[in-house]
């Protein structure tokens, strides 16, 4: 097998995640789509790590997972604070900081 099918799947996951981030109106759904994009990038990292025979790609995936965990914790705390103050999860209603 070549690396190409893995990259195609990775691009597909990233594409679907991008579309979801732009289309979804629910804060948590947007977070889920961001996780999808991160996983598309992770698949590329692991595939290149395998086909170049170097371990660095997998180390990067490890770091991406750590950052994703931190992002999920802080993002979900922000979501809870938003729901507590505004009683909404719609990102169009959270526009105080928009110019």
């Amino acid at each position: 097998m070549t690396i190409a099918p893995y990259l195609v799947l990775s691009a597909l996951l990233f594409f679907v995640g991008t579309v979801g981030v732009i289309l979804k109106r629910n804060v948590i759904a947007v977070f889920l789509c961001i996780e999808l994009m991160l996983n598309g990038a992770n698949l590329s990292f692991v595939a290149f790590s395998r086909f170049l025979g170097r371990v660095d790609g997998q180390v990067f995936v490890f770091f991406v997972m750590v950052v994703a965990a931190a992002e999920a914790a802080v993002g979900l705390a922000v979501t809870i604070a938003l729901y507590r103050n505004r009683k909404t999860l719609n990102i169009d209603d959270a526009d105080i900081m928009k110019w």
């Binding site: 893995y6 691009a11 579309v19 289309l23 086909f51 979900l76």
Partner: protein
């Protein structure tokens, strides 16, 4: 054998990814994402990265997604996620931007001299030993920075989640 497993796992992963975007209720989106993550863990096993596959299942599907499901259940689990009904143009814009991203990625995939699988891959490439050795030698500084990041994330989550009277 390898192509069969690849196509099985990639079909499940793509279906899960589509489910995340298509389903209108956030709860079902999260469950679809868990399916997608599990299929990706299978692909990581296929790519001889057992440590990453295990971390994917234990940390990603096991911890991060459970956190997501907790919050979804805490807020309003089965509220229908409103799509951009008011703003039709957002849908076209989203799909157009996604297609542009795909086109930007296409040359990478289209390169013909892509390396094939090396015949004798080093079997110890994806083990916890190899990854740990790399993390604690070449990537020691990013690893320490990661610990600071996690500390900041913990404090931020506690402060943000606290109820201010």
């Amino acid at each position: 054998m390898e192509p069969a497993i690849f196509y099985l796992c990639s079909t499940v992963a793509a279906a899960g990814a589509l489910g995340v975007v298509v389903s209108r209720k956030v709860f079902y989106s999260a469950v679809s994402l868990i399916v997608c993550l599990a299929a990706l863990a299978g692909l990581y096993m296929l790519l001889q990265a057992p440590f990453i596959a295990a971390v994917q299942v234990i940390v990603y599907a096991g911890a991060i997604m459970v956190l997501f499901l907790f919050v979804i259940m805490l807020l309003d689990p089965f509220s229908a996620a409103v799509l951009a009904d008011k703003r039709r143009y957002l849908q076209f814009m989203g799909i157009a931007l996604g297609l542009i991203a795909l086109f930007l990625l296409a040359p990478l995939v289209a390169v013909h001299d892509m390396r094939t699988v090396p015949h004798s891959p080093s079997p110890a490439l994806g083990t916890a030993y190899a990854i740990g050795k790399s993390i604690f030698t070449d990537y020691l500084l990013p690893f320490e920075a990661t610990s600071a990041l996690i500390l900041v994330a913990i404090i931020g989550a506690v402060v943000l989640g606290k109820r201010h009277p």
